[in-house]
Protein backbone atom coordinates (compact mmCIF):
# COMPACT_ATOMS: atom_id res chain seq x y z
CA UNK A 1 0.00 0.00 0.00
CA UNK A 2 1.98 2.97 -1.20
CA UNK A 3 2.70 5.43 -3.95
CA UNK A 4 5.33 4.30 -6.43
CA UNK A 5 6.65 6.41 -9.30
CA UNK A 6 8.53 4.36 -11.85
CA UNK A 7 10.77 6.31 -14.24
CA UNK A 8 8.30 9.15 -14.67
CA UNK A 9 9.12 11.86 -17.21
CA UNK A 10 6.99 14.78 -18.29
CA UNK A 11 7.32 17.34 -21.05
CA UNK A 12 5.27 20.51 -21.32
CA UNK A 13 4.23 21.63 -24.77
CA UNK A 14 3.95 18.24 -26.52
CA UNK A 15 5.90 17.92 -29.76
CA UNK A 16 6.50 21.60 -30.46
CA UNK A 17 10.04 22.96 -30.47
CA UNK A 18 9.07 25.02 -27.41
CA UNK A 19 8.58 21.89 -25.28
CA UNK A 20 10.16 21.97 -21.85
CA UNK A 21 11.18 18.88 -19.92
CA UNK A 22 9.71 19.36 -16.47
CA UNK A 23 10.45 15.90 -15.05
CA UNK A 24 13.31 13.62 -15.96
CA UNK A 25 13.14 9.95 -15.06
CA UNK A 26 11.82 10.35 -11.53
CA UNK A 27 11.71 7.20 -9.37
CA UNK A 28 10.19 7.51 -5.95
CA UNK A 29 8.49 5.27 -3.43
CA UNK A 30 6.46 6.64 -0.56
CA UNK A 31 5.37 4.00 1.95
CA UNK A 32 2.18 4.37 3.98
CA UNK A 33 2.21 6.64 6.97
CA UNK A 34 5.43 8.46 6.12
CA UNK A 35 5.77 12.22 6.46
CA UNK A 36 7.85 13.32 3.48
CA UNK A 37 9.17 16.77 2.61
CA UNK A 38 9.63 17.52 -1.09
CA UNK A 39 12.09 20.37 -1.43
CA UNK A 40 13.20 22.23 -4.49
CA UNK A 41 13.67 25.60 -6.07
CA UNK A 42 10.92 27.40 -7.95
CA UNK A 43 10.75 25.61 -11.30
CA UNK A 44 12.44 22.44 -10.09
CA UNK A 45 9.37 20.38 -10.95
CA UNK A 46 7.88 19.83 -7.48
CA UNK A 47 4.40 21.05 -8.36
CA UNK A 48 4.45 19.17 -11.65
CA UNK A 49 5.45 15.99 -9.83
CA UNK A 50 2.67 16.13 -7.25
CA UNK A 51 0.04 16.76 -9.92
CA UNK A 52 0.99 13.40 -11.39
CA UNK A 53 0.25 11.63 -8.13
CA UNK A 54 -3.49 12.20 -8.35
CA UNK A 55 -3.70 11.99 -12.11
CA UNK A 56 -4.17 15.68 -12.97
CA UNK A 57 -1.18 15.46 -15.28
CA UNK A 58 -0.31 12.40 -17.29
CA UNK A 59 3.33 11.40 -17.53
CA UNK A 60 4.91 11.47 -21.00
CA UNK A 61 6.59 8.20 -20.07
CA UNK A 62 6.82 5.95 -17.02
CA UNK A 63 4.30 4.43 -14.64
CA UNK A 64 2.66 5.37 -11.38
CA UNK A 65 1.31 2.77 -8.98
CA UNK A 66 -1.08 3.57 -6.18
CA UNK A 67 -1.80 0.73 -3.77
CA UNK A 68 -0.35 -1.68 -6.26
CA UNK A 69 -2.49 -0.61 -9.20
CA UNK A 70 -1.20 1.16 -12.29
CA UNK A 71 -3.14 4.44 -12.48
CA UNK A 72 -2.66 4.59 -16.26
CA UNK A 73 -4.59 1.37 -16.65
CA UNK A 74 -7.58 1.84 -18.97
CA UNK A 75 -10.12 0.73 -16.39
CA UNK A 76 -8.55 2.66 -13.53
CA UNK A 77 -11.00 4.93 -11.71
CA UNK A 78 -9.37 8.38 -11.54
CA UNK A 79 -12.13 9.69 -9.31
CA UNK A 80 -11.29 7.07 -6.71
CA UNK A 81 -7.62 8.00 -6.95
CA UNK A 82 -8.41 11.68 -6.45
CA UNK A 83 -10.45 10.92 -3.35
CA UNK A 84 -7.69 8.76 -1.89
CA UNK A 85 -4.80 11.06 -2.77
CA UNK A 86 -5.84 14.53 -1.64
CA UNK A 87 -3.97 17.43 -3.20
CA UNK A 88 -3.99 20.88 -1.64
CA UNK A 89 -2.77 23.37 -4.21
CA UNK A 90 -0.64 26.43 -3.63
CA UNK A 91 -2.79 29.28 -2.29
CA UNK A 92 -5.75 26.89 -1.88
CA UNK A 93 -7.92 29.72 -0.55
CA UNK A 94 -8.34 30.85 -4.17
CA UNK A 95 -10.58 27.86 -4.85
CA UNK A 96 -13.25 28.73 -2.24
CA UNK A 97 -16.56 29.49 -3.90
CA UNK A 98 -19.55 28.61 -1.72
CA UNK A 99 -21.70 31.02 0.29
CA UNK A 100 -20.45 29.70 3.61
CA UNK A 101 -17.41 27.81 4.82
CA UNK A 102 -19.31 24.67 5.77
CA UNK A 103 -20.91 24.19 2.33
CA UNK A 104 -17.56 24.74 0.70
CA UNK A 105 -15.98 21.97 2.74
CA UNK A 106 -18.95 19.75 1.81
CA UNK A 107 -18.11 20.12 -1.90
CA UNK A 108 -15.45 17.39 -1.91
CA UNK A 109 -17.36 14.65 -0.04
CA UNK A 110 -20.55 15.49 -1.98
CA UNK A 111 -18.67 14.88 -5.23
CA UNK A 112 -17.83 11.44 -3.92
CA UNK A 113 -21.54 10.67 -3.92
CA UNK A 114 -21.88 10.38 -0.13
CA UNK A 115 -25.25 11.02 1.51
CA UNK A 116 -26.02 14.28 3.29
CA UNK A 117 -25.39 12.97 6.80
CA UNK A 118 -22.00 11.46 6.00
CA UNK A 119 -21.01 14.56 4.00
CA UNK A 120 -21.81 16.88 6.88
CA UNK A 121 -20.14 14.66 9.44
CA UNK A 122 -16.98 14.61 7.40
CA UNK A 123 -17.05 18.36 6.82
CA UNK A 124 -17.50 19.01 10.52
CA UNK A 125 -14.71 16.61 11.38
CA UNK A 126 -12.34 18.17 8.82
CA UNK A 127 -13.03 21.71 10.04
CA UNK A 128 -12.35 20.58 13.61
CA UNK A 129 -9.09 18.95 12.53
CA UNK A 130 -7.75 22.16 11.01
CA UNK A 131 -8.72 24.03 14.14
CA UNK A 132 -11.24 26.45 12.70
CA UNK A 133 -13.53 27.82 15.45
CA UNK A 134 -17.23 26.83 15.26
CA UNK A 135 -18.53 30.39 14.97
CA UNK A 136 -16.85 30.75 11.56
CA UNK A 137 -18.56 27.71 9.98
CA UNK A 138 -21.47 29.66 8.55
CA UNK A 139 -19.59 32.80 7.56
CA UNK A 140 -18.78 33.61 3.97
CA UNK A 141 -15.34 32.19 3.18
CA UNK A 142 -14.43 35.56 1.70
CA UNK A 143 -14.81 37.26 5.10
CA UNK A 144 -12.18 35.12 6.81
CA UNK A 145 -8.57 36.14 7.38
CA UNK A 146 -5.83 34.75 5.13
CA UNK A 147 -4.80 32.01 7.53
CA UNK A 148 -8.41 31.01 8.26
CA UNK A 149 -9.24 30.84 4.55
CA UNK A 150 -6.29 28.55 4.02
CA UNK A 151 -7.42 26.23 6.83
CA UNK A 152 -10.92 26.12 5.39
CA UNK A 153 -9.48 25.18 2.00
CA UNK A 154 -7.29 22.46 3.51
CA UNK A 155 -10.37 21.15 5.33
CA UNK A 156 -12.09 20.97 1.94
CA UNK A 157 -9.57 18.35 0.86
CA UNK A 158 -9.39 16.60 4.25
CA UNK A 159 -13.15 16.08 4.21
CA UNK A 160 -12.67 13.57 1.40
CA UNK A 161 -10.74 11.45 3.92
CA UNK A 162 -7.73 10.81 1.71
CA UNK A 163 -5.22 8.11 2.60
CA UNK A 164 -2.46 10.35 1.38
CA UNK A 165 -2.39 14.14 1.65
CA UNK A 166 -0.19 16.29 -0.56
CA UNK A 167 0.25 19.93 0.38
CA UNK A 168 1.88 22.25 -2.16
CA UNK A 169 3.57 25.08 -0.26
CA UNK A 170 0.88 25.29 2.43
CA UNK A 171 2.70 28.10 4.22
CA UNK A 172 3.33 30.42 1.26
CA UNK A 173 2.44 34.00 2.12
CA UNK A 174 1.69 33.31 5.80
CA UNK A 175 3.44 35.06 8.69
CA UNK A 176 5.77 32.97 10.93
CA UNK A 177 3.01 32.39 13.49
CA UNK A 178 0.50 31.22 10.90
CA UNK A 179 3.17 29.03 9.34
CA UNK A 180 4.05 27.31 12.63
CA UNK A 181 0.38 26.78 13.42
CA UNK A 182 -0.42 25.16 10.10
CA UNK A 183 2.69 22.98 10.09
CA UNK A 184 2.03 21.97 13.69
CA UNK A 185 -1.52 20.97 12.83
CA UNK A 186 -0.35 18.94 9.85
CA UNK A 187 2.13 17.10 12.06
CA UNK A 188 -0.58 16.47 14.63
CA UNK A 189 -2.88 15.18 11.92
CA UNK A 190 -0.21 12.78 10.77
CA UNK A 191 0.51 11.38 14.22
CA UNK A 192 -3.22 11.04 15.03
CA UNK A 193 -4.43 9.44 11.82
CA UNK A 194 -1.28 7.84 10.45
CA UNK A 195 -1.97 9.48 7.13
CA UNK A 196 0.79 9.61 4.51
CA UNK A 197 1.78 13.23 4.02
CA UNK A 198 3.85 14.84 1.31
CA UNK A 199 4.76 18.42 2.11
CA UNK A 200 6.09 20.49 -0.77
CA UNK A 201 8.25 23.45 0.15
CA UNK A 202 11.18 25.49 -1.04
CA UNK A 203 12.43 25.99 2.49
CA UNK A 204 14.42 23.32 4.32
CA UNK A 205 14.03 25.36 7.47
CA UNK A 206 10.26 24.90 7.43
CA UNK A 207 10.14 21.17 7.00
CA UNK A 208 13.26 19.97 8.82
CA UNK A 209 11.52 19.94 12.16
CA UNK A 210 8.50 17.92 11.07
CA UNK A 211 9.32 15.36 8.41
CA UNK A 212 10.74 11.82 8.52
CA UNK A 213 12.29 12.04 5.10
CA UNK A 214 13.39 14.72 2.66
CA UNK A 215 13.41 14.44 -1.12
CA UNK A 216 15.35 17.19 -2.88
CA UNK A 217 14.50 18.03 -6.48
CA UNK A 218 16.59 20.01 -8.90
CA UNK A 219 15.82 20.70 -12.57
CA UNK A 220 13.24 17.96 -12.83
CA UNK A 221 15.12 15.12 -11.21
CA UNK A 222 15.68 13.88 -7.70
CA UNK A 223 18.99 15.08 -6.25
CA UNK A 224 18.91 13.65 -2.72
CA UNK A 225 16.54 11.36 -0.87
CA UNK A 226 16.94 10.46 2.78
CA UNK A 227 16.39 11.46 6.39
CA UNK A 228 16.90 15.18 7.17
CA UNK A 229 20.18 14.26 8.81
CA UNK A 230 21.46 12.47 5.70
CA UNK A 231 20.30 15.15 3.30
CA UNK A 232 21.71 18.05 5.27
CA UNK A 233 25.11 16.37 5.31
CA UNK A 234 25.33 17.46 1.68
CA UNK A 235 25.28 21.11 2.65
CA UNK A 236 27.84 22.14 0.00
CA UNK A 237 25.97 20.50 -2.88
CA UNK A 238 22.69 21.95 -1.65
CA UNK A 239 24.16 25.43 -1.61
CA UNK A 240 25.44 24.92 -5.12
CA UNK A 241 21.92 24.36 -6.42
CA UNK A 242 20.74 27.40 -4.49
CA UNK A 243 19.02 25.71 -1.55
CA UNK A 244 19.99 26.75 1.94
CA UNK A 245 20.27 24.18 4.69
CA UNK A 246 18.61 25.27 7.96
CA UNK A 247 20.55 27.98 9.74
CA UNK A 248 21.41 25.70 12.67
CA UNK A 249 22.90 23.11 10.33
CA UNK A 250 24.89 25.82 8.58
CA UNK A 251 26.16 27.12 11.92
CA UNK A 252 27.20 23.64 13.05
CA UNK A 253 29.07 23.01 9.81
CA UNK A 254 30.93 26.27 10.27
CA UNK A 255 31.78 25.47 13.88
CA UNK A 256 33.06 22.08 12.77
CA UNK A 257 35.22 23.75 10.11
CA UNK A 258 36.56 26.07 12.82
CA UNK A 259 37.69 23.09 14.84
CA UNK A 260 34.88 22.50 17.32
CA UNK A 261 33.79 18.93 17.99
CA UNK A 262 30.08 19.36 17.23
CA UNK A 263 27.61 16.90 15.72
CA UNK A 264 26.72 18.43 12.35
CA UNK A 265 23.76 16.08 11.98
CA UNK A 266 21.60 18.10 14.36
CA UNK A 267 18.62 19.56 12.49
CA UNK A 268 16.68 21.44 15.15
CA UNK A 269 17.63 24.31 17.43
CA UNK A 270 17.26 22.04 20.47
CA UNK A 271 19.61 19.37 19.18
CA UNK A 272 22.06 22.03 18.01
CA UNK A 273 22.23 23.80 21.33
CA UNK A 274 22.80 20.45 23.07
CA UNK A 275 25.71 19.51 20.85
CA UNK A 276 27.28 22.99 21.04
CA UNK A 277 27.09 22.98 24.84
CA UNK A 278 28.66 19.55 24.84
CA UNK A 279 31.46 20.67 22.54
CA UNK A 280 32.15 23.63 24.79
CA UNK A 281 32.41 21.28 27.71
CA UNK A 282 29.37 22.32 29.76
Amino acid sequence: MSMILDHVSYRYGGDTPLAVTALKDVCLQIPDGQFVGLIGHTGSGKSTLVQHMNGLLRASSGHIYWNGEDIYDKEYDMKKLRSQVGLVFQYPEHQLFETDVFSDVCFGPRNLGLDKRETELRAYDALKKVGLPDELFYQSPFDLSGGQKRRAAIAGVLAMKPQMLILDEPTAGLDPKGRDEILGQIKQLQTQTGMTILLVSHSMEDVAEYVDRIVVMNQGSILFDGSPREVFAHNRELEEVGLAVPQVTDLLHRLKDAGFEVDTGATTVKEASATILQALGY
Binding site: L56, L87, F89, H94, G108, L112
Partner: protein, 270 residues
Protein backbone atom coordinates in the same frame (compact mmCIF):
# COMPACT_ATOMS: atom_id res chain seq x y z
CA UNK B 1 -5.50 22.10 -21.60
CA UNK B 2 -6.35 25.78 -21.96
CA UNK B 3 -2.85 26.78 -22.94
CA UNK B 4 -3.54 25.95 -26.58
CA UNK B 5 -5.69 29.03 -27.05
CA UNK B 6 -3.55 31.81 -28.46
CA UNK B 7 -4.88 35.32 -28.43
CA UNK B 8 -3.00 38.29 -29.70
CA UNK B 9 -1.13 36.21 -32.23
CA UNK B 10 2.07 38.28 -32.34
CA UNK B 11 4.97 36.46 -34.02
CA UNK B 12 8.28 37.49 -32.51
CA UNK B 13 11.02 38.16 -35.05
CA UNK B 14 13.14 41.00 -36.37
CA UNK B 15 12.01 42.57 -39.64
CA UNK B 16 11.40 45.93 -41.25
CA UNK B 17 7.64 45.34 -41.10
CA UNK B 18 7.85 44.66 -37.35
CA UNK B 19 9.72 47.91 -36.82
CA UNK B 20 7.25 50.06 -38.78
CA UNK B 21 5.20 52.59 -36.87
CA UNK B 22 1.91 50.96 -35.80
CA UNK B 23 -0.01 53.91 -37.24
CA UNK B 24 1.41 53.16 -40.68
CA UNK B 25 0.50 49.50 -40.34
CA UNK B 26 -3.03 50.26 -39.16
CA UNK B 27 -3.60 52.90 -41.82
CA UNK B 28 -1.95 50.78 -44.49
CA UNK B 29 -4.09 47.77 -43.65
CA UNK B 30 -7.21 49.91 -43.77
CA UNK B 31 -6.25 51.37 -47.16
CA UNK B 32 -5.41 47.90 -48.44
CA UNK B 33 -8.74 46.42 -47.34
CA UNK B 34 -10.72 49.28 -48.86
CA UNK B 35 -8.74 49.05 -52.08
CA UNK B 36 -9.78 45.40 -52.42
CA UNK B 37 -13.38 46.49 -52.88
CA UNK B 38 -12.63 48.95 -55.66
CA UNK B 39 -11.27 46.59 -58.29
CA UNK B 40 -13.48 45.04 -60.90
CA UNK B 41 -10.82 43.35 -62.96
CA UNK B 42 -8.28 40.64 -62.40
CA UNK B 43 -5.23 42.90 -62.76
CA UNK B 44 -6.15 44.82 -59.63
CA UNK B 45 -6.26 41.62 -57.59
CA UNK B 46 -3.03 40.48 -59.12
CA UNK B 47 -1.39 43.74 -58.02
CA UNK B 48 -2.91 43.35 -54.54
CA UNK B 49 -1.69 39.76 -54.24
CA UNK B 50 1.78 40.73 -55.41
CA UNK B 51 1.95 43.59 -52.92
CA UNK B 52 0.85 41.29 -50.10
CA UNK B 53 3.40 38.64 -51.11
CA UNK B 54 6.19 41.21 -50.94
CA UNK B 55 5.03 42.41 -47.49
CA UNK B 56 4.84 38.84 -46.19
CA UNK B 57 8.30 38.14 -47.51
CA UNK B 58 9.65 41.26 -45.80
CA UNK B 59 7.92 40.40 -42.50
CA UNK B 60 9.82 37.08 -42.20
CA UNK B 61 6.73 35.46 -40.65
CA UNK B 62 6.26 31.88 -41.94
CA UNK B 63 3.34 31.69 -44.34
CA UNK B 64 1.59 28.93 -42.38
CA UNK B 65 0.86 31.41 -39.58
CA UNK B 66 -1.15 33.52 -42.05
CA UNK B 67 -3.09 30.49 -43.17
CA UNK B 68 -3.99 29.82 -39.54
CA UNK B 69 -6.04 33.05 -39.56
CA UNK B 70 -7.85 31.72 -42.63
CA UNK B 71 -9.10 28.67 -40.71
CA UNK B 72 -11.17 30.83 -38.38
CA UNK B 73 -13.23 32.26 -41.22
CA UNK B 74 -13.40 29.10 -43.28
CA UNK B 75 -17.12 28.66 -42.69
CA UNK B 76 -17.94 32.23 -43.68
CA UNK B 77 -15.71 31.82 -46.70
CA UNK B 78 -17.45 28.65 -47.91
CA UNK B 79 -20.86 30.20 -47.33
CA UNK B 80 -20.02 33.26 -49.38
CA UNK B 81 -18.58 31.25 -52.24
CA UNK B 82 -21.46 28.76 -52.38
CA UNK B 83 -24.21 31.39 -52.21
CA UNK B 84 -22.63 33.58 -54.83
CA UNK B 85 -21.97 30.62 -57.05
CA UNK B 86 -25.55 29.35 -57.14
CA UNK B 87 -27.72 32.35 -56.48
CA UNK B 88 -26.49 34.93 -58.96
CA UNK B 89 -28.85 35.36 -61.93
CA UNK B 90 -27.35 35.53 -65.42
CA UNK B 91 -26.25 33.36 -68.33
CA UNK B 92 -26.43 29.70 -67.27
CA UNK B 93 -23.27 27.61 -67.64
CA UNK B 94 -24.02 24.30 -65.96
CA UNK B 95 -27.23 23.25 -64.28
CA UNK B 96 -28.15 20.14 -62.28
CA UNK B 97 -31.24 19.49 -60.17
CA UNK B 98 -32.51 22.97 -59.48
CA UNK B 99 -29.09 24.52 -59.10
CA UNK B 100 -27.62 26.61 -61.82
CA UNK B 101 -24.15 28.01 -62.04
CA UNK B 102 -24.10 31.16 -64.12
CA UNK B 103 -21.23 32.94 -65.74
CA UNK B 104 -21.87 35.95 -63.50
CA UNK B 105 -22.13 33.72 -60.43
CA UNK B 106 -18.81 32.11 -61.13
CA UNK B 107 -17.26 35.51 -61.58
CA UNK B 108 -18.69 36.96 -58.33
CA UNK B 109 -17.85 33.85 -56.33
CA UNK B 110 -14.28 33.99 -57.56
CA UNK B 111 -13.93 37.71 -56.81
CA UNK B 112 -15.43 37.32 -53.37
CA UNK B 113 -13.12 34.40 -52.58
CA UNK B 114 -10.05 36.34 -53.66
CA UNK B 115 -11.17 39.42 -51.74
CA UNK B 116 -11.78 37.46 -48.55
CA UNK B 117 -8.47 35.62 -48.72
CA UNK B 118 -6.50 38.81 -49.32
CA UNK B 119 -8.46 40.62 -46.61
CA UNK B 120 -7.92 38.00 -43.92
CA UNK B 121 -4.28 37.42 -44.75
CA UNK B 122 -3.67 41.15 -45.07
CA UNK B 123 -5.03 41.85 -41.60
CA UNK B 124 -3.19 38.87 -40.08
CA UNK B 125 0.06 40.35 -41.38
CA UNK B 126 -0.70 43.38 -39.23
CA UNK B 127 -1.58 41.46 -36.04
CA UNK B 128 1.31 39.05 -36.52
CA UNK B 129 3.89 41.81 -36.80
CA UNK B 130 2.59 44.25 -34.17
CA UNK B 131 2.51 43.64 -30.42
CA UNK B 132 -0.93 44.22 -28.88
CA UNK B 133 0.49 47.11 -26.86
CA UNK B 134 1.90 48.78 -29.94
CA UNK B 135 -1.40 48.30 -31.67
CA UNK B 136 -3.39 50.05 -28.95
CA UNK B 137 -0.80 52.83 -28.84
CA UNK B 138 -1.22 53.33 -32.54
CA UNK B 139 -5.00 53.29 -32.26
CA UNK B 140 -4.98 55.78 -29.43
CA UNK B 141 -2.82 58.07 -31.48
CA UNK B 142 -4.97 57.80 -34.58
CA UNK B 143 -8.24 58.27 -32.73
CA UNK B 144 -6.97 61.38 -30.97
CA UNK B 145 -9.09 63.74 -33.08
CA UNK B 146 -12.18 62.14 -31.50
CA UNK B 147 -11.33 63.88 -28.26
CA UNK B 148 -12.98 66.94 -29.72
CA UNK B 149 -16.24 65.02 -29.33
CA UNK B 150 -15.38 64.18 -25.68
CA UNK B 151 -14.51 60.56 -26.45
CA UNK B 152 -12.10 59.35 -23.70
CA UNK B 153 -9.62 57.96 -26.23
CA UNK B 154 -6.74 57.45 -23.83
CA UNK B 155 -8.90 55.68 -21.25
CA UNK B 156 -10.38 53.34 -23.85
CA UNK B 157 -6.93 52.50 -25.18
CA UNK B 158 -5.66 51.89 -21.64
CA UNK B 159 -8.61 49.58 -20.96
CA UNK B 160 -7.85 47.65 -24.11
CA UNK B 161 -4.18 47.14 -23.28
CA UNK B 162 -5.00 46.08 -19.72
CA UNK B 163 -7.60 43.62 -20.99
CA UNK B 164 -5.13 42.15 -23.46
CA UNK B 165 -2.47 41.89 -20.78
CA UNK B 166 -4.82 39.99 -18.48
CA UNK B 167 -5.97 37.35 -20.93
CA UNK B 168 -3.01 34.98 -20.44
CA UNK B 169 -3.05 35.56 -16.67
CA UNK B 170 -6.72 34.67 -16.39
CA UNK B 171 -6.26 31.63 -18.62
CA UNK B 172 -3.55 30.36 -16.33
CA UNK B 173 -5.74 31.08 -13.32
CA UNK B 174 -8.62 29.14 -14.89
CA UNK B 175 -6.36 26.18 -15.47
CA UNK B 176 -5.22 26.25 -11.86
CA UNK B 177 -8.69 26.55 -10.33
CA UNK B 178 -10.00 23.85 -12.62
CA UNK B 179 -7.29 21.47 -11.42
CA UNK B 180 -7.86 22.40 -7.79
CA UNK B 181 -11.58 21.63 -8.09
CA UNK B 182 -10.88 18.42 -9.99
CA UNK B 183 -8.68 17.40 -7.06
CA UNK B 184 -11.82 17.83 -4.94
CA UNK B 185 -13.72 15.51 -7.22
CA UNK B 186 -15.36 18.11 -9.51
CA UNK B 187 -16.32 16.86 -12.93
CA UNK B 188 -16.36 19.33 -15.81
CA UNK B 189 -16.69 16.90 -18.68
CA UNK B 190 -19.71 14.66 -18.27
CA UNK B 191 -23.42 15.10 -17.59
CA UNK B 192 -26.16 16.93 -19.44
CA UNK B 193 -26.13 20.62 -20.28
CA UNK B 194 -27.73 21.75 -17.00
CA UNK B 195 -25.34 19.64 -14.97
CA UNK B 196 -22.36 20.97 -16.85
CA UNK B 197 -23.49 24.57 -16.44
CA UNK B 198 -23.87 23.94 -12.72
CA UNK B 199 -20.42 22.37 -12.59
CA UNK B 200 -18.99 25.68 -13.80
CA UNK B 201 -20.01 27.53 -10.63
CA UNK B 202 -17.00 26.26 -8.60
CA UNK B 203 -14.82 27.47 -11.46
CA UNK B 204 -16.42 30.82 -12.25
CA UNK B 205 -16.88 32.14 -8.72
CA UNK B 206 -13.20 31.87 -7.76
CA UNK B 207 -12.22 33.16 -11.20
CA UNK B 208 -14.33 36.30 -10.81
CA UNK B 209 -13.15 36.80 -7.26
CA UNK B 210 -9.55 36.65 -8.42
CA UNK B 211 -10.23 38.92 -11.41
CA UNK B 212 -11.74 41.54 -9.12
CA UNK B 213 -8.89 41.15 -6.67
CA UNK B 214 -6.36 41.67 -9.45
CA UNK B 215 -8.27 44.66 -10.81
CA UNK B 216 -8.34 46.16 -7.35
CA UNK B 217 -4.61 45.63 -6.84
CA UNK B 218 -3.82 47.09 -10.24
CA UNK B 219 -5.98 50.15 -9.63
CA UNK B 220 -4.29 50.67 -6.30
CA UNK B 221 -0.82 50.33 -7.85
CA UNK B 222 -1.73 52.77 -10.63
CA UNK B 223 -3.09 55.25 -8.15
CA UNK B 224 0.01 54.89 -5.96
CA UNK B 225 2.02 56.05 -8.98
CA UNK B 226 -0.30 59.00 -9.46
CA UNK B 227 -1.94 57.78 -12.65
CA UNK B 228 -4.83 60.05 -13.52
CA UNK B 229 -5.66 59.41 -17.14
CA UNK B 230 -4.29 60.87 -20.32
CA UNK B 231 -4.19 64.52 -19.30
CA UNK B 232 -0.63 65.84 -19.68
CA UNK B 233 0.80 62.32 -19.88
CA UNK B 234 4.00 61.75 -21.83
CA UNK B 235 5.21 58.44 -23.23
CA UNK B 236 8.31 56.43 -22.61
CA UNK B 237 8.41 55.39 -26.24
CA UNK B 238 6.69 58.14 -28.22
CA UNK B 239 5.58 57.23 -31.71
CA UNK B 240 7.75 59.18 -34.15
CA UNK B 241 7.76 58.70 -37.89
CA UNK B 242 11.10 57.43 -39.15
CA UNK B 243 12.54 57.36 -42.62
CA UNK B 244 11.24 53.82 -43.11
CA UNK B 245 7.74 54.97 -42.23
CA UNK B 246 7.78 57.60 -44.96
CA UNK B 247 9.11 55.02 -47.39
CA UNK B 248 6.29 52.67 -46.36
CA UNK B 249 3.80 55.48 -46.89
CA UNK B 250 5.16 56.05 -50.37
CA UNK B 251 4.98 52.31 -51.10
CA UNK B 252 1.34 52.16 -50.06
CA UNK B 253 0.51 55.17 -52.22
CA UNK B 254 2.34 53.63 -55.14
CA UNK B 255 0.49 50.35 -54.62
CA UNK B 256 -2.83 52.19 -54.58
CA UNK B 257 -2.05 54.06 -57.76
CA UNK B 258 -0.83 50.98 -59.61
CA UNK B 259 -3.60 48.64 -58.48
CA UNK B 260 -6.41 51.08 -59.22
CA UNK B 261 -5.14 51.84 -62.68
CA UNK B 262 -3.80 48.35 -63.36
CA UNK B 263 -6.58 47.53 -65.78
CA UNK B 264 -5.97 50.58 -67.91
CA UNK B 265 -2.19 50.22 -67.66
CA UNK B 266 -2.39 46.71 -69.06
CA UNK B 267 -4.59 47.92 -71.92
CA UNK B 268 -2.16 50.68 -72.76
CA UNK B 269 0.74 48.28 -72.65
CA UNK B 270 -0.87 45.85 -75.03
Amino acid sequence: MLRDITLGQYYQTESVIHRLDPRIKLGGTLVYIISLFFFNHIWGYLAAALFLAVVIRLSKVPFRFMVRGMKAVLFLFMLTVVFNLFLTPGTPLISFYRLTITREGLRTAFTMAVRLILLVIGSSVMTLTTTPNNLTDGMENMLRPLRVFKVPVHEVAMMMSIALRFIPILLEETDKIMKAQMARGANFESGNLLKRAKALVPLLVPLFVSAFRRANDLAMAMEARCYRGGEGRTRMKPLIFQRRDFIACACIALYLAVSLTAGRLVWLWI
